[in-house]
């Protein structure tokens, strides 16, 4: 049987590398703007744009017409370029994609959890900075748990494509089907947000085919690591720090990151916030630099100065002010998640005339527990002003997530 390129349970498309090449070789037009719900169609358009060296704009299918107009102005989404000199590509061309991507660029938008999405453009080299191609990776099978119109999904895509691996879509797929697909396709590699993994809990089963589990996009905690180790006993667990603006930057096996020597002068901490030098950013980014450094908005706790070692605490703009005290909702979620009955939690605030804000927690539990028991538990871990005053237990069936698979806070 031909090697599988992509399987998507949502469309039931099973595409081999051979069919993928056929489709590439039969294209007559290139789309300038990619706006599709079908992930396969997105991949086909991205790869063809590279092979013909045509810049491309990638839009999340969840963006509304209004948002697209705000981002791009009045444009024709169906704008295409005719392929005048058709070429015939083979598997070698896919492996050597880099040589075709000399002037290619891709425009993406951040998820915009804190406002309108931001436009970021990347070169091929920048996009695949963290991609590893080698013999060792030739039999990897990837579970795609990110939206491929965002950077993390693209990185998974290129990691798999450049090693000619099979990709199985798990994004927006329900948990039982995810478990079935992991076993059916013997998926070896997963990369997802902590929220994605938490939504899989509780899991009794062990998945032995998984060799590598990467977490990114949100704060990682050691409690999650324990769950992952139990679920995937043969896997190496990796925590990745990446953003749309500069791709992957740091990796670690726990919640603390150690700065690599090569980044020594390119990353600094200012007022507990990570600043990244513009040389590590995508090609052109609509952001304000401070002395050539980009303030990421990510707050850290410095563990060691030299070499720099730090832990991510949360987003600067996610801090909540409770009667003058700054509270990090992630810290409270972590405390809640450490309770054996709690599978998942979301902490947010509601404005209030007495203290400015009041903390509210929505939690999902695996057994019966009441608000008071949770509060007593939290009081052993947290200061009283950090304890949510309203705790909704299993009120909302689904704790909502953003289009990039992160926990939605607003």
């Amino acid at each position: 049987m031909d090697k599988i390129f992509f399987y998507d349970p949502l469309t039931d498309k099973l595409i081999s590398y051979k069919i993928f090449l056929d489709h590439l070789n039969n294209l007559n037009h290139l789309e300038k703007i990619v706006y599709h719900s079908d992930f396969y169609e997105i991949f086909l358009r991205i790869v063809s744009s590279i092979l013909y060296n045509q810049p491309i704009i990638l839009l999340d299918y969840n963006l509304t017409d209004f948002e697209i107009k705000e981002l791009l102005g009045q444009i024709n989404l169906k704008d295409t370029v005719e392929i005048k000199f058709k070429k015939v590509f083979n598997e070698e061309d896919i492996k050597n994609l880099r040589s075709y991507a000399k002037n290619w660029e891709i425009i993406l938008f951040t998820s915009g959890t804190t406002g309108l999405p931001k436009r970021v453009s990347h070169s091929f080299e920048n996009l695949i900075r963290a991609v590893k191609v080698s013999e060792k990776h030739k039999d990897d099978v990837w579970g795609l748990a990110y939206n491929p119109t965002h950077i993390a999904g693209l990185q998974v895509f290129f990691q798999a494509l450049l090693n000619q691996n099979s990709i199985i879509n798990l994004f927006n797929v329900n948990r039982n089907l995810i478990f079935e697909l992991i076993e059916r396709f013997k998926i070896t590699h997963l990369s997802a947000t902590p929220t994605f993994y938490r939504l899989l809990l509780p899991v009794e089963k062990k998945f032995t085919s998984i060799k590598s589990v990467a977490c990114g996009g949100e704060r990682f905690d050691n409690n999650l690591k324990l769950h992952l180790q139990a679920m995937f006993p043969n896997a190496k667990i990796i925590n990745i720090y990446a953003t749309t603006e500069f791709g992957s930057l740091f990796a670690s096996d726990g919640d603390a990151f150690l700065l690599k020597k090569e980044y020594e002068n390119l990353v600094k901490i200012v007022d507990n916030e990570i600043y990244v030098h513009k040389n590590l950013l995508g090609k052109s980014v609509e952001i304000n630099l401070v002395d050539d450094f980009y303030p990421t908005g990510d707050q850290v706790e410095v563990i060691d100065e030299k070499p720099l070692k730090f832990k991510i605490l949360g987003r600067k703009n996610e801090m909540i002010n409770i009667g003058g005290y700054k509270v990090n909702p992630l810290e409270i979620e972590e405390a809640l998640n450490s309770h054996p009955c709690v599978i998942m939690s979301k902490v947010y605030c509601k404005t209030n005339s007495v203290l400015g804000n009041i903390l509210i927690a929505d939690i999902k539990t695996n057994s019966e527990i009441n608000e008071k028991e949770i509060r007593i538990y939290l009081s052993k871990l947290l200061n009283s002003y950090k304890i949510p005053r309203i705790i909704n237990i299993n009120v909302n069936d689904e704790i909502s997530i953003t289009r990039t698979g992160k926990l939605k806070r607003r």
Binding site: S353, E371, R375, R389
Partner: protein, 77 residues
């Protein structure tokens, strides 16, 4: 009044304080009910969920009677 008593008792229960059987207008929220500022914030939000009004929005609310007055204003107006 009964709904308000329930809300107050829920907050007291979470603080390990005994249930209040009867609510009186002259009861002081801080001194008689033992509420601190975090509890008062919780009280306003729980009242807002139940009645759709922020009782602390304008002016000082010290007693149970003050809260009831605010709630009656809404019911009558």
């Amino acid at each position: 009044m009964e709904k308000l008593r329930k809300i107050i008792n829920q907050i007291r229960y979470n603080k390990d304080l005994p249930e209040i059987k009867n609510l009186f207008h002259d009861m002081d929220l801080r001194n008689d009910l033992g509420f601190d500022s975090l509890d008062l914030a919780e009280l306003t939000v729980r009242i807002e969920y139940e009645f759709g009004i922020d009782v602390f929005e304008d002016g000082i609310v010290l007693t149970v009677g003050d809260v009831i007055k605010k709630l009656e204003k809404i019911n009558n107006g």
